[in-house]
């Protein structure tokens, strides 16, 4: 039975689209599992999702409950990461902060990836002046310093987590547009696209059903690799007071609060930083692994 399933997955001549896709996923999954760093990265990302989902049950205390009687306590058996200047348990705040981080990266991905995908696909598919205008715009955005641009946008929009998400999304979409355009250019003149067109399919149908799906794998790789940068930018905005506002337990904002105590009560600023590093590294490892597993061009 087990061998039968594997044969079905690895067959050279899949009988249906579903079978071909399952086979591809199986192959990529195997390649991914053979890469220890990628597995580690995947586990970290999974951990982030689980911690975010079960934060109320995992956190020993409330992330906003103040107790001035026990402020700035060092890490101990009772408070694994110590307490902050308002007597809040830092571990609990880091756990709740996972939700904010996950929400930010998910929102940025949900906004920026489709925008970039559509701009790039339209640009590559139609070519001509549409391509020149759209890619000119993309290149202008691409040649700007991303962090500074996000800072300026966040400053103009006003502080807040939603505005931080918008500011970061504005700076991330152009890279996706470039990738989608490159992919589209390689597919555009393929015979199956010509055949679909002869069957009377509209441009919208060809782009939506035939081109966009083929861009997804390179998109997933790029988005995963970008996650670390997005997390760092979001934390940076939080650190400067432009992102999540107090008392939200956003990691960057927590480091900013701990800045005043860094020389004596080092744990207040340090602990949220470790969370940022672990999660960013996780996305980096996973992204590298996905690229090796999914991207046929990167294979040696």
């Amino acid at each position: 039975m087990k061998a039968g399933l594997r044969d079905w997955l690895t067959t050279e001549a899949p009988g249906s689209r579903r079978q071909a896709m399952a086979g591809r996923l199986y192959g990529a999954g195997l390649a991914l599992l053979g890469n220890p760093l990628a597995v580690l990265g995947g586990l970290i990302v999974l951990l982030l999702v689980l911690v975010a989902a079960f934060a109320p049950w995992l956190a020993p205390e409330s992330p906003v409950g103040q107790d001035l009687g026990r402020r700035l306590l060092p890490p101990s058996a009772e408070h694994w990461m110590g307490t902050d200047e308002l007597g809040r348990d830092i571990l609990s705040r880091v756990i709740w902060g996972a939700r904010i981080t996950l929400m930010i990266v998910a929102l940025v991905a949900v906004i920026a990836a489709p925008v970039g995908l559509i701009v790039g696909a339209v640009s590559g598919y139609f070519g001509g002046w549409i391509d020149r205008v759209l890619m000119g715009l993309t290149d202008v955005f691409l040649s700007m310093p991303k962090l500074i641009l996000a800072l300026a946008f966040a400053a103009a929009l006003g502080p807040g987590i939603e505005n931080a998400v918008i500011a970061i999304a504005i700076t991330t979409w152009p890279a996706y547009a470039r990738i989608a355009r490159a992919e589209t250019l390689t597919i555009r003149n393929a015979e199956f696209i010509a055949a679909t067109r002869l069957l009377g399919a509209s441009h919208l149908r060809i782009i939506g059903l035939h081109i966009l799906p083929l861009c997804t794998s390179s998109m997933i790789i790029r988005v995963t690799l970008d996650m670390a940068g997005i997390i760092l930018t979001a934390a940076g905005l939080g650190f400067l007071g432009l992102g999540a506002q107090p008392p939200l337990p956003e990691w960057g904002a927590m480091i900013s609060r701990g800045r005043a105590f860094i020389l004596d009560q080092w744990w207040v600023a340090t602990m949220p930083g470790f969370a940022i590093i672990v999660v960013s590294l996780g996305f980096c490892f996973l992204g590298d692994g996905l690229r090796d597993a999914l991207d046929p061009k990167g294979r040696k």
């Binding site: 310093p145 650190f239 340090t270 930083g273 940022i276």
Partner: protein, 353 residues
């Protein structure tokens, strides 16, 4: 006679036309990119805020000040006219007044920029000096522990928040070990001893022969510059490794090995030489990236550069200063990228026709 002395690349008329086309294309792309940057800062300053006047004068302004600013900013005119006059102002070097320093933003930026330049330059020197050899060694020892260590170190550079590393560095090397000085550019006793000439404190102090000041400045700059250098190193080492791996899998490398060329020569001469041009682009990109990354580092180290100026302006809601600093950082960023692009084309024989 004169014709035989014409520079080598322009031997034929066609080559000259080709070169002229290249220059024209370069100028056009650069101009469009700068115009795009201006359009973005204009958009951020005048269109995004709900009330751009309030963003400039701040909420403590009287109604008269508000009205004066509104007229001065020409907000009653069509958007395109406003943009044209904005571009004209910037070209003349007028970036508006800063409400927090009460000086023209352009003057402020000119004053603070050398501090950033000094730190980023030392950072990139550290990044290149360590990053390139590390990348080459990692590629030469692909797969074993040296390679794995360097790879993970490089990936750490993509995952550590710069401001966090700055704080931890201060806690460890300043408060803990006492190896370096704390925030700021020099000890408070030395302030004002050296008259700024280039604005680069190390250079000015050395030229004035004030070695006490020089020592103080070195012990202040070493930590923030080293942290910037670490981020440059991460990127440079990663790119160097991947370029080297490409070269080492080429056939000419195998040929050299078969001929019995010593391994160090294969790596440092045969494989390394061809990637030097690619590295210029990488180093340029990473230098530009450091100017940007210094925003966070300067804020943590109270370093009186453009990044600190930008974040201070953010806290004071001083929008003219924010946009001016954004514009200057963006322009330098684009400028460095364009220059490294040109260098690449000039130096790489494969990109010539």
């Amino acid at each position: 006679m004169a014709a035989s002395f014409s520079p080598a690349p322009f031997r034929s008329r066609a080559a000259l036309v080709q070169a002229a086309k290249g220059v024209a294309e370069f100028v056009a792309i650069t101009a469009v990119t700068f115009l795009g940057l201006l359009a973005l800062t204009f958009f951020i300053g005048r269109v995004v805020p709900i009330d751009p006047v309030l963003a400039v004068v701040g909420d403590r302004a009287t109604p008269e000040q508000y009205e004066a600013a509104r007229v001065a900013m020409g907000l009653d005119r069509p958007l395109l006219v406003q943009f044209a006059s904005y571009v004209w102002d910037v070209l003349r070097g007028d970036l508006g007044m800063s409400v927090s320093t009460n000086k023209p933003v352009a003057e402020d930026l000119l004053r603070v920029f050398p501090a950033t330049l000094e730190m980023a330059t030392i950072g990139i020197v550290i990044g290149v000096a360590l990053g390139v050899p590390m990348g080459v060694i990692a590629a030469a020892r692909q797969g074993i522990w040296v390679d794995q260590t360097i790879r993970v170190l490089a990936l750490t550079g993509y995952s550590v928040p710069a401001f966090w590393l700055g704080l931890v560095g201060l806690a460890v090397f300043y408060a803990g070990l006492g190896w370096v000085s704390g925030p700021g550019r020099m000890g408070i006793f030395y302030d004002g001893i050296v008259a700024p000439w280039s604005g680069l404190l190390l250079l000015d102090a050395a030229l004035a022969g004030e070695w006490e000041v020089f020592r103080s400045a070195v012990s202040h700059i070493v930590l923030p510059a080293a942290i910037l250098g670490f981020f440059a190193l991460a990127y440079i080492a990663r790119m160097t490794r991947s370029f080297m791996l490409d070269q080492l899998s080429q056939e000419f490398v195998t040929t050299a090995r078969v001929k019995g060329v010593p391994e160090w020569r294969v790596i440092w001469v045969h494989a390394f030489r061809p990637i030097r041009v690619q590295l210029i682009t990488v180093i340029g990109l990473s230098y530009a990236g450091l100017l940007e990354g210094s925003v966070m580092i300067e804020t943590v180290f109270s370093w009186p550069g453009i990044g600190n100026y930008l974040t201070t302006a953010l806290f004071n809601a001083d929008m003219n200063a924010v946009l001016g600093a954004t514009l200057v950082i963006g322009a330098v960023f684009i400028g460095i990228n364009r220059i490294s692009d040109v260098l690449y084309r000039v130096l790489d024989p494969r990109s010539r026709s």
